[in-house]
Amino acid sequence: MIDYQDVSAAIQRERGDAVVVTAMTQGQFWKEASDRPELDIPTNNSMGKVSSIGFGIALGAPGRKVIALDGDGSLIMNLGSLISIGGKAPKNFYHVLYDNGMYAITGGQPIAGAGNIDWTGLAMASGYRAAYSFEDTEEMATEMPRILSEPGPVLIHVKVKPVITTNLGVIQTWESNAVMPAQMRSVKAALA
């Protein structure tokens, strides 16, 4: 399994001027790694919707890479988004799925179907152009530059080491809620 920080570092090295939309725990680690915070949007306030927000940005700004940092607990709330994204197949959309198999910010309860979900199979069957799965840090870090230079939509499934917390979910949501509208307008201005 891979540390959250290592996924953030691998993406950060290749992000360029990509818009990065984040959710939940991976967003907490991403903000420590990002060197373009004006292009980042945390969306904890709307759990499950990060894939759809990123999809909308990718459709509307086809010349700009969009990277959505999703979680398995979030994506199963909005699983149909895979099919909607696959239907339009935006070439500039990169969907990174952090799989810890649980709701880590509520104490580590398992998600429905934990361990049984074929994430890359779901993405490919939904119309994604490619899907990759990583459990090894070195392999993930080596492959990330190539994957993020390919046309999308791509799902990058990463099996991560859980970071279990308790009662931080609401605090993170409030933090996200406080900055999300301004961050959206920051990105809007950058894309104008």
Binding site: V21, F55, G56, L59, S84
Partner: protein, 166 residues
């Protein structure tokens, strides 16, 4: 194509005239008559799998400096409640939501709970709305877009065409 008193081409022309770039939609019984006109209008139709995606995708399109509208059924609006809260009202998103008013009857007596709860739902969220039933009411679409821009909030246009079997 016409349903009740609404003509698809006239309705779509009124929407396109507002500068709408994308229609995020899941076809329903009240708005399906417009589908072909929308696909031929120059606006990009974005099909979704479930209505809860619509406001989130529209928010993304707005961030990308596009002008989206959404078109879903009232039952799907209920499913979209958290997105309306967090991504519509929560980020001050100027968005016009075209809502198929399933179960609508002008006299107000309907057995369909999707209709019974729609207007109370919108009142609860503080979301202004207009009902359109006939082509000569389509100027209300312009009023809705104006209100969304002035308030920077979601507003609704309810498609009140009663279902007519063909």
């Amino acid at each position: 194509m016409t349903t009740g008193g609404l003509t698809a081409s006239a309705m779509v022309e009124h929407i396109a005239a507002q500068g709408v770039t994308h229609i995020v939609t899941l076809p329903d019984s009240e708005t399906n008559f417009m589908y072909d006109s929308m696909t031929e209008s120059g606006m990009e139709v974005v099909q979704i799998s479930r209505e809860g995606e619509a406001i989130a995708i529209a928010a993304g399109l707005w961030i990308a400096n596009q002008k989206p509208a959404i078109m879903i059924q009232n039952s799907g609006l209920f499913e979209s409640g958290d997105a309306l809260r967090g991504l519509g009202i929560g980020i001050d998103l100027p968005l016009v939501m075209f809502i198929g008013y399933r179960g609508y009857t002008r006299h107000g007596d309907t057995p369909d709970s999707a209709a019974q709860f729609l207007e109370p739902f919108l009142h609860t969220w503080g979301t202004p709305y207009w009902i359109v039933e006939k082509d000569d009411e389509l100027d209300r679409i312009g009023l809705a877009f104006k209100k969304a821009e002035e308030t920077s909030k979601p507003v609704a246009v309810l498609i009140g065409a009663e279902y007519v079997s063909v």
